[in-house]
């Protein structure tokens, strides 16, 4: 039996709300659906700032840029200071170490498939930035699959170090860094 397609608000003036919800099986088998798979391909120009950043990654280095006016040193690098609205003044080679600003333990892929071995995304504050800041990456070098096990090994504020792909495998991409791993013993 089809579920009722309207319900009344119990407030004046009474107006039924419309909409016909479908169950999953109705959606997949009984209701006519027109499929389309888009083919959307882009080749994004990296430009000056990110182009150099990616070259740096291929060399095993993390670059940032510095603005003399506001005094910030930031990564990911930009060609212009977004606060002062002027070109950045110099390139800075940063360390490939940092600290964990925040992290999560994720058991689902981007297309909602379950993961037994979770991914650990994190924001890594890179050493040498002012104020401290950084970018999104993954944590690795951590054993265990449960939240409890993983939380014993990593925490906010903890020092981490980039683990790089072998030089010959690097292509000038953010994935030239395999992940960031805890740097040495904790305390």
């Amino acid at each position: 039996m089809a579920p009722p397609n309207s319900r009344r608000i119990d407030a004046p003036p009474p107006q039924p709300l419309r909409g016909r919800g479908l169950r999953d099986d109705e959606f997949r088998r009984r209701v006519s659906v027109t499929p389309w798979t888009p083919v959307l391909e882009y080749g994004w120009d990296t430009g000056l700032a990110i182009g150099r950043f990616l070259e740096g990654l291929q060399e095993g280095k993390i670059y940032g840029t510095h603005c003399r006016q506001c005094g910030r040193t930031v990564t990911p690098p930009r060609a212009f200071c977004e606060l002062d609205f002027k070109p950045m003044d110099e390139w800075v080679e940063l360390a490939d170490t940092g600290t964990i600003n925040t992290f999560s333990i994720c058991y689902i892929t981007w297309d909602m498939k379950p993961l037994r071995r979770p991914q650990i995304p994190a924001v890594i504050d890179i050493d040498g930035t002012t104020p401290r800041g950084g970018f999104l990456h993954l944590l690795g070098g951590v054993s265990g699959n449960t939240v409890e096990d993983i939380r014993e090994q990593i925490s906010i504020g903890m020092p981490v170090r980039a683990v790089w792909k072998k030089p010959r495998d690097r292509t000038g991409a953010i994935t030239d860094i395999l992940h960031f791993a805890p740097a040495g013993k904790r305390r």
């Binding site: 419309r18 016909r20 919800g21 058991y107 981007w110 909602m112 104020p131």
Partner: protein, 391 residues
């Protein structure tokens, strides 16, 4: 802003469709349901409407490029000045601001605002579309998903202020329970904190029952200029203040524990509304709650709770429907559903009904005179705020 606002604008009608996991109806049809109901409730016809503004979030969900054009027939926009303003998840409340701009400018006296979302078209799962919100060069290759940004932000918020997951779970409990009284609700339920924490961890610290659902749905309102509003209804609900602010895209450089962009937007709206003590002068709040912790995060940004203290206020009952400052009396996104743009406008509709005493079983006690609706979106970047009131 030191200039004087040209003229006052009021909400004179509101309507919405059901919020559903997957609707039989197309996006156009859902828009039509909401628009038609809003027009009827305002007592006006489509030909009286002079301009239309549409809010709908990523085109990737419906799988239609330039989907504003594709939807316009359902939103009453055919052969009218029609605009689509798009600020990600902030669009629902921003659609009110966009409509307000159309009327306050003096160009149009009567405007229809429609917000629609049909996420179910996106296969195999709408979450997949969110991959494409991340930076194409330095983030997408890591395979990020939407859960990451929420869980990273929630973790930072919890760590900074010592907030526990039990505190946050209470938002799911409150809102899903409030939603039992909302006729459009998709995921209303009677839950306990234990139920919420027993649900599986999707991306720690986020549990499944702390996440709002994927939804299809639409909402709509009618806006009118001053004198027209007063002719159309005895109880126009005035747009007293609007504000919006978008933070830098370099979110790894930001303090994730506090939504500064909401504060900036709120202050812009409060200044326009002439508010000096928001906690006293605002009687109902509809902050954006796509994940349970966001309600608390946003209440702090809205200056309605001290930083890090919203969970305490929640636990003390301050934000219950019968409390000092009812928040999400509608049931919010956690309870009613999250068809992205429509969810934000649903909050505006809720304030409209509440302030007119028409919210039925959801009605907050007393005679609330002023409410704030807020939405949020992008990479934890945008705050859109509207203050609505009976005067």
């Amino acid at each position: 802003m030191t200039r004087k606002i040209r003229r006052r604008v009021a909400v004179v009608g509101a309507g919405m469709s059901l919020f559903m996991r997957r609707a039989l109806e197309t996006g156009r049809e859902l828009s039509y349901y909401a628009a038609q109901q809003a027009l009827e409730s305002a007592g006006v016809r489509l030909k009286d409407i002079e301009a239309v503004t549409m809010a709908t979030a990523p085109d990737a969900f419906d799988g239609v490029h330039m989907k504003g054009e594709w939807l316009l027939d359902g939103a009453g926009g055919t052969r009218k000045p029609y605009l689509r303003a798009y600020v990600g998840g902030g669009s629902g409340v921003f659609s009110l601001i966009s409509g307000w701009t159309l009327v306050a400018s003096g160009l149009f006296d009567l405007v229809l605002v429609v917000a629609e979302e049909k996420m179910s078209s996106c296969q195999p799962h709408p979450q997949g579309a969110f991959l494409t919100i991340f930076d194409h060069t330095i983030e997408r290759p890591l395979g990020p998903n939407l859960l990451w940004i929420f869980s990273l932000e929630q973790q930072r918020y919890m760590q900074t202020y010592g907030i526990r997951n039990e505190d946050i779970a209470l938002v799911s409990v409150k809102n899903k329970r409030n939603a039992l009284d909302h006729p459009a609700a998709q995921v209303a339920a009677n839950l306990t904190v234990a139920d919420v924490l027993a649900s599986e961890v999707v991306a720690w610290p986020v549990h499944r029952l702390m996440v709002s659902p994927v939804s299809d749905g639409a909402a709509a309102i009618v806006l009118a200029a001053d004198s027209i509003a007063q002719r159309l209804t005895d109880k126009p609900i005035w747009v007293q203040g609007v504000g919006w602010a978008l933070d830098t895209s370099y979110w790894g450089n930001r303090d994730l524990s506090y939504p500064r962009y909401v504060e900036v937007a709120a202050k812009m709206a409060y200044e326009m509304a002439g508010l000096t003590e928001p906690r006293k002068q605002i009687h109902i709040a509809e902050p954006y709650d796509p994940f349970a912790y966001k309600e608390l995060h946003h209440l702090e940004g809205l200056q309605l709770a001290d930083r890090g203290k919203a969970p305490e206020d929640l636990a003390a009952g301050r934000f219950d429907r019968t409390g000092e400052l009812p928040t999400c009396p509608s049931g919010g996104l956690m309870g009613v559903g999250n068809p992205i743009a429509a969810a934000g406008l649903m909050k505006v509709c809720e304030l409209f009904w509440q302030l007119r005493g028409e919210a039925g079983a959801r009605q907050v006690p007393g005679t609330p005179e002023r409410g704030v609706a807020q939405a949020w979106g992008d990479l934890m970047q945008i705050g859109t705020v509207a203050v609505l009131g009976v005067h």
